[in-house]
């Protein structure tokens, strides 16, 4: 029994996809609606897989970007009574300029600070009238940058200056992005498993419906591999064709999403970039492989019961 199916190798998968239907394939009767349902299911699964893949890739990029930004710069907020703020800012700049591992500090001009507040107060708000702290951006230039040491120095040499290394708000976002990426990958695996289940059920139904055909074929000397290959080819082909259609639809859907530069938000970043557009094209290949192995398994079980 095992020997029969060891010969059912990947070559059958390839031949099933590229060869015209010969007489060997015609031994299995056409299945009408079942075939269309298999095509539709494979297409729907592939469509969903494209979005799951896009989600996994986009969240991966997001986590990477946030991580690098987290490590790339810090902000120092200088709060002082009106009239003393310039002096406090200068003192802080002095401390920051001599901080090991830090780049050149930059005091954000009032219009840039106003821009940061605009989403909350609107563009016409007179920021000058508000007790807004001075903001200093400090690029992190080396591994020897010690945020905790700098914090203590500022406390001693520039009271009122508070170091914000963005950890508090960015780290949960990075964690969330990483978890979303894992969810995307889990979704892909679930889609593959659901596709395998669906194809196995369809193949088993087809094999059961063709019990008499299988018996006739066995009686005239057909080997298990001959019968199984006819079913395997058919379902591999359906899975591949359905998945190709679903993948193309999914890719078109992704392509029609608004560009990520338009708003820069997370949802608009859901998509593929550069070579990433080639990745969804692997989905039909995976679907064909899933169809091949699921049908092979179902055929193995079913034919074993027919002498």
């Amino acid at each position: 029994m095992g020997t029969d199916f060891r010969a059912l190798n990947l070559r059958a998968l390839w031949q099933g996809l590229i060869r015209d239907s010969g007489p060997g394939d015609r031994i299995v009767p056409p299945t009408g609606v079942t075939a269309q349902l298999t095509l539709f299911s494979a297409g729907a699964m592939a469509f969903l897989a494209v979005f799951a893949l896009a989600l996994a890739l986009a969240t991966g990029r997001l986590a990477e970007r946030w991580s690098s930004e987290l490590a790339g710069s810090v902000t120092v907020r200088v709060s002082a009574p009106m009239g003393e703020q310039d002096a406090a800012a200068r003192a802080t700049m002095q401390v920051l300029s001599t901080t090991p591992g830090a780049g050149q500090p930059r005091l954000l001009p009032p219009d840039e600070v106003a821009g940061l507040l605009a989403p909350w107060f609107g563009p016409d708000m007179p920021v000058d009238a508000l007790p807004v702290p001075a903001l200093i951006e400090l690029p992190v230039a080396g591994d020897d940058f010690d945020a905790q040491g700098l914090r203590l120095r500022l406390e001693a040499e520039a009271p009122g200056a508070v170091l914000d290394d963005h950890t508090q708000w960015r780290r949960p976002l990075v964690t969330a992005a990483n978890r979303l990426r894992v969810l995307g990958i889990v979704s892909l695996l679930l889609i593959a498993a659901a596709s395998a289940s669906m194809i196995t059920l369809a193949a088993k139904a087809a094999l059961a419906a063709n019990g008499q055909v299988i018996r006739v074929l066995r009686l005239i000397g057909a080997r298990d591999i001959t019968i199984a290959t006819a079913f395997v080819r058919r379902f591999t082909k359906r899975a591949a064709i359905g998945a190709m259609a679903g993948t193309l639809c999914g890719m078109a859907g992704i392509a029609m999403l608004p560009g990520m530069d338009a708003a820069g938000g997370f949802l608009t970043g859901l998509g593929f970039q550069g070579w990433g557009w080639l990745l969804p094209l692997l989905i039909p290949v995976v679907a064909a492989a899933v169809g091949f192995f699921a049908t092979r398994w179902a055929a193995l079980k079913m034919l074993g019961a027919v002498r």
């Binding site: 029969d4 060997g24 009767p29 009686l219 298990d224 001959t226």
Partner: protein, 223 residues
């Protein structure tokens, strides 16, 4: 060709056949007769390894049938052509493709001229493109015989092949089997129709085996 020594077979603990000792001689025409339910079909199914003996020794073409792998059984069946009373076809394929099916599953090329000759031999040239459900009983049996011999098997087994046919059609089918036997094929026909046996014996030397009470006997002049 087929040798049974003290072969027994039973369903669910009830022994249907016992102590069957039989040698199917090459090139001979054999009849297997006996009352309905006596085990004729079971004996034929043992011959093409659709069933395995529960006791005794049985070889087919020199090989112990119990030791055959699934591929080995498939290969054995390519050397044995089988015709049933209610032979099944693949109804979605035309008659010609059904006839060529043993070649297809054996991975052999179909010689279209030989296929046309075969269709002509069984009188089905006009039905080559017809689907099996459209054939009459006699046509189906002749198509079944053509399918059974397309691989040029050494042995042809026919299980009540004339069971659903009228006398003329039965004799026409028997003529084809006689022709095959005269061309050197071994033939075993299971039937309870003694008139058919007598008519055939008038044309060809035939050995008649009878199953009674679960055992095999050689019948002769009493027919």
């Amino acid at each position: 060709m087929i040798e049974m020594r003290d072969v027994g077979f039973g369903y669910g603990g009830t022994e249907l056949l016992s102590n069957m000792t039989l040698t199917l001689q090459s090139g001979m025409f054999h009849f297997l007769t006996g009352p309905s339910g006596s085990g004729k079909t079971t004996l034929l199914r043992l011959c093409y390894a659709d069933l395995l003996p529960t006791t005794g020794q049985m070889t087919a073409f020199g090989e112990d049938v119990r030791q055959l792998s699934r591929d080995g059984i498939a290969d054995l069946r390519r050397r044995i052509g089988v015709v049933h009373q209610d032979t099944q076809f693949l109804d979605h394929l035309p008659v010609a493709e059904n006839l060529a099916l043993p070649l297809t599953v054996a991975g052999q090329e179909v010689d279209m001229e030989a296929l046309r000759d075969l269709l002509g031999w069984v009188g089905l040239t006009q039905h080559a493109r017809a689907l099996p459900p459209s054939l009459s009983g006699g046509e189906r049996q002749r198509a079944a015989l053509a399918r059974a011999v397309i691989l040029s098997p050494d042995l042809i087994l026919a299980d009540e092949p004339t069971g659903n046919l009228d006398w003329d059609m039965s004799m026409r089918l028997m003529q084809l089997l006689i022709e095959l036997n005269k061309s050197g094929k071994t033939v075993l026909v299971a039937t309870h129709d003694l008139n058919l046996i007598r008519s055939t014996k008038a044309q060809v030397s035939a050995r008649v085996l009878r199953i009674a009470n679960g055992t095999l006997q050689l019948a002769g002049a009493d027919l």
